[in-house]
């Protein structure tokens, strides 16, 4: 198992895509730390990891709290060792037409979906540089590439991840650290359940494979990028969307 003995951190791991990613990395032998915004969420992560026979635990992390990202990396390093695989998955939506968008909706997206990617990546850098091995995988979105009405804030933050991914990949590549993004299409999760059925049906029509994606479809891509099989891939965005958008 290629990730045996390595520590992986997955943010937003209590359900959906994050949970599938945590379990995939655990299946490769990693010690997995999953984060959730609530204590009950963190407990749920600990429980499903235990059920899967995986090492690791759930921890509470509110990425928008001052100093929280740095503090959790320090705590993980102390208890488990340096983070070798960082999956920036935590994300929220605050959809609105631009003309109706509130500053709070814009700011909440940037504070949750973008800034912590910078903060967590920075905090794990020292450990990865020393180890001469590391994987940073940013969960973006197809709408960062295609745009989507009602999601100027969300798509702007997701598109920003593409640039961040490429720049950091160039910065740190010489130290054996790869930085990639995975851009999910329309995945069947709580986030997309909020959409009206009519809109869903229309979206599925635009998917070449004719179905919604599953969290596992994203986790498989992340699992590949985290493994040694992907050691020559960096600065890339892997689109996992069933052919909804072809780059």
């Amino acid at each position: 198992m290629s990730l045996a003995g390595k520590v992986a951190l997955v943010t937003g791991a209590s359900r959906g895509i994050g949970q599938a990613i945590a379990l995939e990395l655990a299946s490769q032998g990693a010690t997995v730390i999953g984060t959730a915004t609530s204590d009950s969420g963190a407990e749920a992560i600990t429980a499903y990891l235990k059920e899967a026979g995986a090492a690791g635990a759930g921890l509470r992390l509110n990425v928008t709290e001052e100093g929280a990202c740095e503090a959790i990396i320090a705590a993980i390093e102390k208890d488990y060792g340096p983070v070798a695989v960082l999956v920036n998955n935590a994300g929220i939506t605050r959809d609105n037409l631009l003309m109706r968008m509130k500053d709070e909706e814009w700011d909440a997206i940037m504070a949750t979906n973008l800034k912590p990617v910078y903060q967590l990546s920075k905090a794990v850098m020292r450990g990865m540089m020393k180890a001469r091995w590391g994987r940073i995988i940013n969960i973006a979105s197809v709408v960062g590439a295609t745009g989507n009405a009602g999601q100027t804030n969300y798509s702007a933050a997701k598109a920003a991840l593409f640039g961040f991914t490429k720049s950091l990949a160039k910065e740190i590549g010489s130290r054996g650290v790869t930085v990639n993004a995975v851009a999910p299409g329309f995945i069947d999760t709580d986030m997309t359940k909020a959409l009206p059925d009519e809109q869903k049906a229309k979206l599925v029509e635009a998917i070449a494979l004719g179905r919604l994606g599953l969290p596992k479809d994203i986790a498989d891509a992340v699992g590949f990028l985290a493994s040694d099989r992907a050691s020559y891939i960096t600065g890339n965005t892997m689109h996992v969307n069933g052919g909804m958008f072809m780059n």
Partner: protein, 79 residues
């Protein structure tokens, strides 16, 4: 115990992959020893570990030569 200058030079040589004999007290990491900006960050990390101290970013940016590293460590090290 080796003195601070010798310890610093040894770390510089190791980190930058240059022979220890090339590392002079006046050597600049970037101009003389071929370091890039990321190398200098790593060098500071290595100094922090060797001397068990934390070098703040604003101080680290000023350390560009062997002499400056020796001076910083000498001034900020209790042992």
């Amino acid at each position: 115990m080796e003195n601070i200058e010798q310890r610093v030079k040894k770390i510089v040589a190791e980190q930058l992959g240059v022979p220890e004999t090339d590392v002079k007290i006046e050597s600049s990491f970037v101009n003389d020893l071929g370091a890039d900006s990321l190398d200098t960050v790593e060098l500071v990390m290595a100094l922090e570990e060797e001397f068990e101290c934390e070098i703040p970013d604003e101080e680290a940016e000023k350390i560009t030569t062997v002499q400056q590293a020796v001076d910083y460590v000498s001034a900020n090290l209790s042992k």
